[in-house]
Amino acid sequence: MTLKLNQVARQIQTMGQDLAQQKPERDEALVRAKRLLHNFATEFSTLANLIDRAEKIDDRFGWVGAAPAGEPLDAAFSLPNCPEQITVIASDGSQILPDQHAIYPYYLINIGSITYQHGSNQTPDPFNPEPDLNYQPFDDQGRLISSAEINVQRDLGELAVLLNRVQQLDTPPQPVVTLLDGPLALRVIDLPFDQQKQYQTAYIEILTDLQRQQAWPAGYIDRPRSTYLLSLLHLASLAPETLTEDALRRNPFRQLTDLDLFGFLEPGQRSALFAIKAKNLQRYAALGHAIHFFYLNVGRDKNTPVLARVEVPGWLAADKTSLEALHAVLVRQARLTGGYPYVLARADELAVISSEERDALEMMIGIEMRRQGLKPEISRKLQSKKSYRS
């Protein structure tokens, strides 16, 4: 055992005391945030005006927050009836990142997907496309590809698999939900600008194809830490003439997350819909897929809310009938496992690469390299680590 638990014990004690000391301040912030939520619940034009001003403060600042989408901010919508027949398709991905100390710095993306047809009595249909082994993981300057880019490729692959599965369905007339684990929008922020645009364009094209197929894309975020709504509430608390970058940055709700605001949702209820305002999501809005979200209590117990955030494109948010069906089926799916959509749990299981599988893969790569007269070797550093850790 290398971690000296006795030495860290004192720090843990301090941590506990600090967290307890922060609680009153946090509770007070929450009371203020909730008051703002109720006070501004239907102040749509005031908020629109403030958002407009905040977005224009400085092009480099880029205010990020929520905007009302026509529903009172503190509204709660009861659990609708779930359609008798509705299909949910989920996909998830995992990856092996390139390791310069391995026998070769390859990377691999593995995607898992499952199609679950409620009301059909059909066995759910799992699907794994061929894993994507990439053995040229270098950019033009010979640098190893970043993990951020591999994550983007994986996310793009997950959405492409959802489209593929929708196209393979025998019975398209019933509603089809296509579900991702995580935000609906592609996270490209860590990539160079030209790559951001390239990947985002490809991703939005697939979203458009899903829309054409009448499938409903949604991103399911379990225990989200986002603060879009708190940004809006902070903005609402400011007088228009005091709006500055500095004032917006001094957010008094930084100890909270949006999740803290929605403890009032009863089992099965969803919150109001909101649109996300962010510069990096403008392309989605421009192409008809403005990212919207709502919070959802998928739990059964009144005293223990199980909250998730669900992201949907604007065209789906505007269709109340479809939104109700999505709301209902997500709760149904989550309750199958006790709090998380069954299809997402299964898609993850179908995608995950175990350490044993990774070892086997590397053994196969080593054998093939030797067969081709090459000399695969792990680095001395890795050899040493393996020796000392075994």
């Binding site: 499952i114 679950y116 047809q117 409620h118 059909s120 009595n121 059909q122 066995t123 759910p124 799992p126 309750r335 199958l336 496992t337 006790g338 069954y342 749990a345 299964r346 299981e349």
Partner: protein
């Protein structure tokens, strides 16, 4: 019984017994007491008897049970699609080299990922037949000596299964021969012998 498709793959093996991972239990396959075969090469194989079928613990299944909302699709998904960990324990009782079948432990155990098949009726007959009218039951001693298997139940299940593989007109003769061999091996434990004989007793002609 003529299943020649693999029902599982060897997980770990020793000379006297081995364990097999199995994706899902097909209706009636495999069963406690079934004789199984692991082909090692084109001309050699190891024979064994299934003495335990274990459905391993699975956290995902526990979670579904706790949630208590088991839709039929979930049960189908879990049983037909998921790698539900089912482990078969096999007691080694014989081996084959070319066409010769020997009762007893093999020179080498099966290897990981060797395929397991259920023995066909022809395999079962070949395993116990000497001539059209005589049989050999040397493997019964291995079963009786197994300390970790429910030996009496295993003997009863496997002998009844082997009798079913014989033509109807000689099943009685087969079981009588097996009973005689058991009587010889268990002569010091008459109570136990009687318990077994009662349950492999052939129907009166």
């Amino acid at each position: 019984m003529t299943n020649s498709f693999p029902i599982g793959w060897v997980l770990r093996a020793g000379t006297a017994d081995f364990a097999v991972g199995c994706r899902v239990l097909e209706p009636n396959v495999p069963q406690f007491g079934d004789m199984v075969k692991v082909p090692l090469t084109d001309s050699s194989a190891v024979f064994g008897l299934i003495y335990n079928v274990q459905v391993e613990d699975d956290l995902a299944v526990r979670q579904l049970i706790l949630a208590g909302e088991l839709e039929p699709q979930i049960i189908k998904d879990q049983r037909e699609n998921r790698l539900v960990p089912i482990e078969l324990s096999i007691l080694t009782v014989g081996h084959q080299q070319d066409r010769r079948i020997s009762h007893g432990l093999p020179p080498q155990p099966p290897l990981s990922l060797d395929k397991l098949t259920i023995c066909s009726d022809a395999d079962l007959r070949a395993f116990t037949r000497v001539t059209d009218y005589t049989y050999r039951f040397d493997y019964l001693r291995l079963v009786l000596n197994a300390t970790h298997a429910p030996t009496d139940e295993l003997l009863i299940a496997s002998l009844n299964r082997a009798a079913q593989a014989q033509p109807p007109e000689i099943r009685r003769r087969f079981l009588l021969a097996a009973g005689r061999e058991l009587a010889r091996l268990m002569s010091l434990d008459m109570m136990r012998l009687d318990g077994i004989l009662q349950r492999i007793k052939p129907e009166q002609e």
